[in-house]
Protein backbone atom coordinates (compact mmCIF):
# COMPACT_ATOMS: atom_id res chain seq x y z
CA UNK A 1 0.00 0.00 0.00
CA UNK A 2 2.91 2.30 0.90
CA UNK A 3 4.53 1.83 -2.56
CA UNK A 4 1.17 2.47 -4.22
CA UNK A 5 0.72 5.76 -2.37
CA UNK A 6 4.32 6.79 -3.10
CA UNK A 7 3.95 6.06 -6.83
CA UNK A 8 0.65 7.88 -6.92
CA UNK A 9 2.07 11.04 -5.36
CA UNK A 10 5.20 10.84 -7.52
CA UNK A 11 3.03 10.70 -10.65
CA UNK A 12 0.98 13.66 -9.42
CA UNK A 13 4.18 15.66 -8.77
CA UNK A 14 5.54 14.80 -12.24
CA UNK A 15 2.25 15.83 -13.82
CA UNK A 16 2.21 19.14 -11.95
CA UNK A 17 5.85 19.87 -12.81
CA UNK A 18 5.10 19.27 -16.51
CA UNK A 19 1.97 21.43 -16.37
CA UNK A 20 3.92 24.16 -14.58
CA UNK A 21 6.77 23.99 -17.15
CA UNK A 22 4.19 24.28 -19.95
CA UNK A 23 2.44 27.17 -18.18
CA UNK A 24 5.72 29.06 -17.82
CA UNK A 25 6.64 28.37 -21.43
CA UNK A 26 9.64 26.19 -20.57
CA UNK A 27 8.05 23.25 -22.39
CA UNK A 28 5.96 23.62 -25.52
CA UNK A 29 2.97 21.37 -26.09
CA UNK A 30 4.84 19.40 -28.74
CA UNK A 31 7.45 18.27 -26.21
CA UNK A 32 5.19 18.22 -23.13
CA UNK A 33 2.56 15.87 -24.51
CA UNK A 34 4.67 12.70 -24.18
CA UNK A 35 5.55 13.46 -20.57
CA UNK A 36 1.94 14.40 -19.74
CA UNK A 37 0.79 11.03 -21.11
CA UNK A 38 3.45 9.30 -19.00
CA UNK A 39 2.25 11.13 -15.87
CA UNK A 40 -1.40 10.26 -16.56
CA UNK A 41 -0.47 6.61 -17.25
CA UNK A 42 1.47 6.54 -13.97
CA UNK A 43 -1.63 7.69 -12.03
CA UNK A 44 -3.88 5.32 -13.95
CA UNK A 45 -1.70 2.27 -13.32
CA UNK A 46 -1.33 3.16 -9.64
CA UNK A 47 -5.08 3.40 -9.10
CA UNK A 48 -5.98 0.44 -11.33
CA UNK A 49 -2.91 -1.75 -10.74
CA UNK A 50 -4.77 -4.83 -11.97
CA UNK A 51 -4.47 -3.34 -15.45
CA UNK A 52 -0.69 -3.44 -15.13
CA UNK A 53 -0.76 -7.10 -13.97
CA UNK A 54 -2.99 -8.06 -16.90
CA UNK A 55 -0.77 -6.27 -19.39
CA UNK A 56 2.34 -7.88 -17.92
CA UNK A 57 0.77 -11.33 -18.14
CA UNK A 58 -0.44 -10.65 -21.67
CA UNK A 59 3.09 -9.75 -22.77
CA UNK A 60 4.45 -12.92 -21.13
CA UNK A 61 6.49 -11.42 -18.31
CA UNK A 62 6.93 -13.63 -15.23
CA UNK A 63 7.37 -10.60 -12.98
CA UNK A 64 5.53 -7.32 -13.28
CA UNK A 65 8.65 -5.39 -12.21
CA UNK A 66 10.45 -6.75 -15.30
CA UNK A 67 7.60 -5.51 -17.45
CA UNK A 68 7.86 -2.02 -15.91
CA UNK A 69 11.65 -1.91 -16.39
CA UNK A 70 11.33 -3.12 -19.97
CA UNK A 71 8.59 -0.57 -20.77
CA UNK A 72 10.58 2.28 -19.27
CA UNK A 73 13.72 1.17 -21.13
CA UNK A 74 11.78 1.19 -24.43
CA UNK A 75 10.27 4.58 -23.63
CA UNK A 76 13.64 6.20 -22.89
CA UNK A 77 15.36 4.68 -25.91
CA UNK A 78 12.53 5.93 -28.11
CA UNK A 79 12.48 9.40 -26.57
CA UNK A 80 16.29 9.67 -26.90
CA UNK A 81 16.05 8.80 -30.58
CA UNK A 82 13.28 11.32 -31.03
CA UNK A 83 15.30 14.02 -29.26
CA UNK A 84 18.34 13.20 -31.41
CA UNK A 85 16.28 13.83 -34.53
CA UNK A 86 15.03 17.15 -33.10
CA UNK A 87 18.63 18.07 -32.29
CA UNK A 88 19.76 17.31 -35.84
CA UNK A 89 16.85 19.32 -37.23
CA UNK A 90 17.72 22.29 -35.02
CA UNK A 91 21.39 21.98 -35.95
CA UNK A 92 20.53 22.08 -39.63
CA UNK A 93 18.23 25.08 -39.11
CA UNK A 94 21.01 26.87 -37.21
CA UNK A 95 23.44 26.24 -40.06
CA UNK A 96 20.98 27.51 -42.67
CA UNK A 97 20.30 30.61 -40.58
CA UNK A 98 24.03 31.30 -40.13
CA UNK A 99 24.58 30.96 -43.89
CA UNK A 100 21.68 33.29 -44.71
CA UNK A 101 22.85 35.87 -42.15
CA UNK A 102 26.37 35.76 -43.59
CA UNK A 103 25.09 36.22 -47.16
CA UNK A 104 22.78 39.07 -46.13
CA UNK A 105 25.61 40.73 -44.25
CA UNK A 106 27.73 40.61 -47.39
CA UNK A 107 24.88 42.05 -49.43
CA UNK A 108 24.43 44.93 -46.97
CA UNK A 109 28.16 45.64 -47.01
CA UNK A 110 28.16 45.62 -50.81
CA UNK A 111 25.17 48.00 -50.91
CA UNK A 112 26.85 50.30 -48.40
CA UNK A 113 29.96 50.17 -50.54
CA UNK A 114 32.20 48.98 -47.71
Amino acid sequence: MMIKTLTFFLSIIILFVIIDFSRRGKLTFKYAIGWLCLGVLGILFTVFDQLLFSLSDFCGFALMSNFIFFSLFCFFVFSSLLLSTFLCQQNKRNDIMAQKIALLEKEIKTLKGE
Binding site: K100, A102, L103, E105, K106
Partner: protein, 221 residues
Protein backbone atom coordinates in the same frame (compact mmCIF):
# COMPACT_ATOMS: atom_id res chain seq x y z
CA UNK B 1 30.41 31.56 -74.52
CA UNK B 2 31.90 33.34 -71.51
CA UNK B 3 30.95 31.49 -68.35
CA UNK B 4 30.50 33.32 -65.09
CA UNK B 5 32.86 31.53 -62.71
CA UNK B 6 32.96 31.72 -58.92
CA UNK B 7 35.95 30.47 -56.96
CA UNK B 8 34.89 29.47 -53.46
CA UNK B 9 37.63 29.54 -50.84
CA UNK B 10 36.49 28.13 -47.49
CA UNK B 11 38.85 29.42 -44.83
CA UNK B 12 39.14 28.87 -41.11
CA UNK B 13 42.01 30.62 -39.32
CA UNK B 14 43.93 30.95 -42.59
CA UNK B 15 45.18 34.53 -42.20
CA UNK B 16 48.76 33.33 -42.88
CA UNK B 17 47.81 31.56 -46.12
CA UNK B 18 44.91 33.48 -47.59
CA UNK B 19 46.94 36.25 -49.28
CA UNK B 20 49.12 33.68 -51.10
CA UNK B 21 46.00 31.77 -52.14
CA UNK B 22 44.32 34.88 -53.56
CA UNK B 23 47.56 35.97 -55.25
CA UNK B 24 47.87 32.52 -56.81
CA UNK B 25 44.41 32.87 -58.37
CA UNK B 26 44.90 36.47 -59.48
CA UNK B 27 48.31 35.78 -61.00
CA UNK B 28 46.84 32.96 -63.09
CA UNK B 29 44.89 35.58 -65.07
CA UNK B 30 41.78 33.42 -64.94
CA UNK B 31 38.56 35.46 -65.24
CA UNK B 32 36.51 34.71 -62.15
CA UNK B 33 35.00 36.15 -59.03
CA UNK B 34 36.69 35.11 -55.81
CA UNK B 35 34.62 34.49 -52.69
CA UNK B 36 36.31 33.77 -49.38
CA UNK B 37 33.97 32.09 -46.92
CA UNK B 38 35.37 32.77 -43.48
CA UNK B 39 34.09 29.91 -41.35
CA UNK B 40 33.95 31.87 -38.08
CA UNK B 41 37.73 32.27 -37.78
CA UNK B 42 39.27 33.54 -34.55
CA UNK B 43 42.04 35.33 -36.43
CA UNK B 44 41.72 38.16 -38.98
CA UNK B 45 41.15 35.94 -42.05
CA UNK B 46 38.19 38.09 -43.20
CA UNK B 47 39.92 41.45 -42.92
CA UNK B 48 43.07 40.11 -44.62
CA UNK B 49 40.95 38.70 -47.46
CA UNK B 50 38.91 41.92 -47.71
CA UNK B 51 42.11 43.96 -47.99
CA UNK B 52 42.93 41.91 -51.10
CA UNK B 53 39.75 43.24 -52.71
CA UNK B 54 37.87 39.96 -52.96
CA UNK B 55 34.35 39.14 -51.77
CA UNK B 56 34.14 37.85 -48.22
CA UNK B 57 31.27 36.13 -46.49
CA UNK B 58 31.84 35.75 -42.78
CA UNK B 59 29.83 33.06 -41.01
CA UNK B 60 28.77 34.05 -37.47
CA UNK B 61 30.16 30.81 -36.06
CA UNK B 62 32.13 27.80 -37.22
CA UNK B 63 30.02 25.44 -39.36
CA UNK B 64 32.83 23.21 -40.57
CA UNK B 65 34.15 22.85 -44.11
CA UNK B 66 30.84 21.53 -45.46
CA UNK B 67 28.80 24.46 -44.17
CA UNK B 68 31.37 26.95 -45.44
CA UNK B 69 31.48 25.44 -48.93
CA UNK B 70 27.68 25.24 -49.06
CA UNK B 71 27.54 28.98 -48.29
CA UNK B 72 29.66 29.49 -51.40
CA UNK B 73 27.25 27.38 -53.45
CA UNK B 74 24.29 29.35 -52.06
CA UNK B 75 26.04 32.52 -53.19
CA UNK B 76 26.72 31.01 -56.63
CA UNK B 77 23.08 29.95 -57.01
CA UNK B 78 21.79 33.32 -55.80
CA UNK B 79 23.92 35.35 -58.21
CA UNK B 80 23.54 33.06 -61.22
CA UNK B 81 27.06 31.74 -61.62
CA UNK B 82 27.54 29.15 -64.36
CA UNK B 83 30.48 27.38 -62.75
CA UNK B 84 31.75 27.14 -59.18
CA UNK B 85 35.24 26.00 -58.28
CA UNK B 86 36.12 24.90 -54.77
CA UNK B 87 39.60 26.05 -53.87
CA UNK B 88 41.29 25.27 -50.55
CA UNK B 89 42.30 28.14 -48.30
CA UNK B 90 45.52 26.42 -47.18
CA UNK B 91 47.36 26.88 -50.48
CA UNK B 92 47.35 23.22 -51.60
CA UNK B 93 45.48 23.87 -54.83
CA UNK B 94 46.98 25.51 -57.89
CA UNK B 95 45.00 28.01 -59.98
CA UNK B 96 46.92 27.11 -63.16
CA UNK B 97 44.55 24.12 -63.50
CA UNK B 98 41.37 26.25 -63.57
CA UNK B 99 41.07 26.16 -67.35
CA UNK B 100 41.46 22.38 -67.39
CA UNK B 101 38.89 22.09 -64.59
CA UNK B 102 36.18 24.04 -66.37
CA UNK B 103 36.83 22.77 -69.93
CA UNK B 104 34.59 19.65 -69.72
CA UNK B 105 31.76 21.72 -68.15
CA UNK B 106 31.97 24.46 -70.79
CA UNK B 107 32.02 21.77 -73.51
CA UNK B 108 28.94 20.19 -71.85
CA UNK B 109 30.76 16.89 -71.34
CA UNK B 110 30.49 16.95 -67.55
CA UNK B 111 28.57 18.47 -64.65
CA UNK B 112 31.34 17.95 -62.13
CA UNK B 113 35.08 17.86 -62.76
CA UNK B 114 37.28 16.44 -60.04
CA UNK B 115 40.93 17.39 -60.06
CA UNK B 116 42.85 14.39 -58.82
CA UNK B 117 46.46 14.42 -57.70
CA UNK B 118 46.60 10.63 -58.03
CA UNK B 119 46.01 10.35 -61.74
CA UNK B 120 49.15 10.17 -63.88
CA UNK B 121 51.26 12.22 -64.30
CA UNK B 122 51.25 12.64 -60.52
CA UNK B 123 54.18 14.90 -59.91
CA UNK B 124 53.05 17.01 -56.99
CA UNK B 125 52.36 16.59 -53.31
CA UNK B 126 50.44 13.38 -52.49
CA UNK B 127 49.59 13.25 -48.74
CA UNK B 128 49.19 9.91 -46.94
CA UNK B 129 47.34 7.09 -48.78
CA UNK B 130 44.76 6.88 -46.01
CA UNK B 131 43.64 10.51 -46.60
CA UNK B 132 43.39 10.25 -50.36
CA UNK B 133 39.66 9.67 -50.34
CA UNK B 134 39.05 12.95 -48.58
CA UNK B 135 41.02 15.36 -50.71
CA UNK B 136 39.82 16.77 -53.96
CA UNK B 137 39.73 19.90 -56.02
CA UNK B 138 36.67 20.31 -58.13
CA UNK B 139 34.49 22.49 -60.28
CA UNK B 140 30.83 22.11 -61.10
CA UNK B 141 28.17 23.53 -63.37
CA UNK B 142 24.78 25.14 -62.74
CA UNK B 143 22.87 21.89 -62.15
CA UNK B 144 25.24 20.75 -59.42
CA UNK B 145 25.51 24.26 -57.90
CA UNK B 146 21.76 24.03 -57.33
CA UNK B 147 22.07 20.57 -55.77
CA UNK B 148 24.86 21.67 -53.43
CA UNK B 149 23.16 24.95 -52.51
CA UNK B 150 20.20 22.90 -51.36
CA UNK B 151 22.00 20.00 -49.73
CA UNK B 152 25.73 19.78 -49.34
CA UNK B 153 27.05 17.01 -47.08
CA UNK B 154 28.21 18.54 -43.83
CA UNK B 155 29.94 15.64 -42.09
CA UNK B 156 32.53 14.51 -44.63
CA UNK B 157 31.72 16.75 -47.57
CA UNK B 158 34.43 15.76 -50.01
CA UNK B 159 33.77 12.02 -50.44
CA UNK B 160 30.04 12.32 -49.73
CA UNK B 161 29.47 15.13 -52.24
CA UNK B 162 30.54 12.86 -55.10
CA UNK B 163 27.90 10.30 -54.08
CA UNK B 164 25.34 13.07 -53.72
CA UNK B 165 25.86 14.34 -57.26
CA UNK B 166 26.04 10.81 -58.65
CA UNK B 167 22.52 10.25 -57.27
CA UNK B 168 21.22 13.18 -59.30
CA UNK B 169 22.55 11.61 -62.47
CA UNK B 170 25.27 14.22 -62.90
CA UNK B 171 28.21 13.42 -65.17
CA UNK B 172 31.53 13.28 -63.32
CA UNK B 173 34.91 13.59 -64.99
CA UNK B 174 38.28 13.23 -63.28
CA UNK B 175 41.37 15.02 -64.51
CA UNK B 176 44.96 14.98 -63.26
CA UNK B 177 46.09 18.05 -61.34
CA UNK B 178 49.17 18.91 -59.36
CA UNK B 179 48.88 19.98 -55.74
CA UNK B 180 51.23 21.57 -53.27
CA UNK B 181 51.95 21.20 -49.58
CA UNK B 182 50.06 23.66 -47.38
CA UNK B 183 51.85 26.98 -46.98
CA UNK B 184 51.68 27.02 -43.18
CA UNK B 185 49.87 25.33 -40.29
CA UNK B 186 48.99 21.64 -40.27
CA UNK B 187 46.09 19.40 -41.13
CA UNK B 188 43.60 18.63 -38.37
CA UNK B 189 43.67 14.94 -39.39
CA UNK B 190 46.95 13.41 -38.29
CA UNK B 191 48.38 10.31 -36.57
CA UNK B 192 45.73 7.93 -35.20
CA UNK B 193 42.99 10.35 -36.22
CA UNK B 194 43.52 9.30 -39.85
CA UNK B 195 42.42 5.75 -39.02
CA UNK B 196 39.43 6.97 -37.05
CA UNK B 197 38.62 9.35 -39.91
CA UNK B 198 38.73 6.50 -42.43
CA UNK B 199 36.25 4.41 -40.40
CA UNK B 200 33.91 7.39 -39.95
CA UNK B 201 34.08 8.33 -43.63
CA UNK B 202 33.30 4.73 -44.65
CA UNK B 203 30.18 4.75 -42.46
CA UNK B 204 29.18 8.19 -43.71
CA UNK B 205 29.52 7.06 -47.32
CA UNK B 206 27.43 3.95 -46.68
CA UNK B 207 24.74 6.05 -45.00
CA UNK B 208 24.81 8.54 -47.86
CA UNK B 209 24.32 5.71 -50.36
CA UNK B 210 21.14 4.49 -48.66
CA UNK B 211 19.71 7.98 -48.19
CA UNK B 212 16.70 8.84 -50.34
CA UNK B 213 17.39 10.27 -53.76
CA UNK B 214 17.02 14.03 -54.06
CA UNK B 215 15.60 15.81 -57.07
CA UNK B 216 17.35 18.75 -58.64
CA UNK B 217 15.26 21.87 -58.75
CA UNK B 218 12.78 21.14 -55.95
CA UNK B 219 13.99 24.05 -53.86
CA UNK B 220 14.54 27.77 -54.08
CA UNK B 221 18.06 29.17 -53.73
Amino acid sequence: MNSKVLVIIPAFNESDNIVHVIENIESSGFACEILVVDDGSCDDTSSVARSCGVGVVRLPFNLGIGGAVQTGFLYAARYGFDIAIQFDGDGQHDAQFFNKLIEPIVADQADVVVGSRFLPPNLGYQSSWIRRIGIHFFSCGRKVIKVFAYDYPLDFPEPESIIEVKKTGARIVEIPVQMKERISGHSSIRYLKTLYYMVKVTFAILLRIIQTKKQVGDHDD
